[in-house]
Amino acid sequence: MMSFFTVEKLFSLSFYVAAGFFLIGLGYSGTSLAPTGLFLIILSFLVFSRFLWLATARLKKDERNLPDQILSSLSDDAEKNKDNIFKRSCALDFGSFLLLIFLSGAWGIYCSIYPNEITSIKTLYIEFGNFFGDAYGKEDLEFGNLREQIFQYISLLLIVLLMSWLQLSLSISKRFVRHNLVVFWPAFLVGVVILNFIVGRVLLFQWPDTLFLSGGGLGIAEPLMLLHPDLAQDSMSFFMVRFFELGFVGAYGAYLFLLIPLSVFFHIIMIRQRRKTLAYIGMMSVAVVIMMDMFWLYHPYGLSVMAMGWFVIVVCWGQSGFKTPYILR
């Protein structure tokens, strides 16, 4: 029987491997769904096994006699730790995060099935693409269909959910948090600076108004960028891409994901007055992610960099939420 620490180390190692594949896949992913689906299957197995392992602490035998009842009340440290992690997963902040993930998925599907008028861009692009393709003597149209776009979006959301839960549950260990910060925090900051040089920032930023509450549907930003190269070079930030695809609600609603850890950080700094360093690191990462989201030009590598920023935020958020974090030796 492996000890609690050994199993935690194995899960930590699995998280690092999964995070590596996730970051590389996010940066280099094409329109193919198969790798995303395969990764989701492996991740769901991993989370499933960890969840069952943690849930064993919540199980108890049906004691019939007094000695068994007394013995069962004396649970060991490992069970307490498991119980602690389990309670952390059921907390209000992670529940809100879970709800937001589902709402985001539902909103993305709604925008794709009932798109805004902006969707005529796609039809127009296909017409012109065929027109130019005919002129050049070749066809180079490559688009994912609606079903493919929706499944890719939902898969990505679920991967973010499972990875966040895995990281949040592992962040009970201070050593795991320290390693995460050593790996992801510098990589995130360096990535932001490198993207500033190789891709650049927006020249013009416009605040979207409520006229377009819903967006043009998933995958609409790509043809728009091809149709309007000037727009893509000047103002197509991550925020604007989200605005075109998911509308006003989706563009601003994504910041609610950051509001949950921010509220935990504020709680730590203003009320609990302990483990402030992690709260400050998390808040700084939130600020950098928002800055990058609004003012950095869209690029697939940027998604990987933002995911690294999210990992830093989640690990600080997870550790800050534990009342009695475990110092793993």
Binding site: G30, T31, S32, L33, A34, T36, G37, L38, F39, L40, I41, L43, S44, F45, V47, F48, F51, A55, R58, L59, K60, K61, D62, C90, S120, I121, T123, L124, I126, E127, F128, G129, N130, F131, F132, D134, A135, Y136, G137, E139, L141, E142, F143, G144, N145, R147, E148, F151, Q152, I154, S155, L158, L162, L227, H228, D230
Partner: protein
């Protein structure tokens, strides 16, 4: 016999397990869904349908005229690869005419006429047009 400590926790665990099963199912669906190459061919056929429809019935791009912001230079440059195909020039002229870009439509018609007008002066016309295009 093993049971959970209370009914609420049991419900939560069941919900999470159901979510993980759904996640696994979505992942499996993604793996076995048709690849993007098949989707691209479907879109190409759809685009061909739109193209034929607009060619015969008339382009329905007037409502989207504000979206036609491709520069004149890039439009003309695209057709310069096969300038003797007058159908392309005429189609460009009709589309841009309907979208209110009269300068591009006028130029496309002029190019269509010039390239249609004879074979012996091809090189001369092409050089003249190219120099005119570069000047703009």
């Amino acid at each position: 016999m093993v049971r959970l400590r209370d009914r609420r926790q049991g419900g939560f665990v069941c919900c999470i397990l159901a979510l993980l099963v759904c996640t696994f199912a979505i992942g499996a669906l993604c793996v076995f869904m048709p690849s993007s190459k098949q989707s691209a061919s479907q879109h190409a056929s759809q685009a061909q349908f739109y193209y034929e429809k607009n060619k015969t019935v008339g382009a329905n791009v007037k409502a989207s005229s504000n979206l036609l912001t491709l520069s004149e230079a890039s439009l003309v440059q695209a057709l310069m690869h096969d300038p003797y195909n007058t159908d392309h020039w005429n189609l460009l002229a009709s589309v841009t005419q309907e979208s209110g870009r009269y300068a591009v439509a006028h130029k496309a018609r002029r190019f269509s006429h010039l390239f249609w007008s004879g074979d012996d002066q091809d090189d001369l016309i092409e050089v003249a047009l190219y120099s005119e295009y570069k000047r703009h």
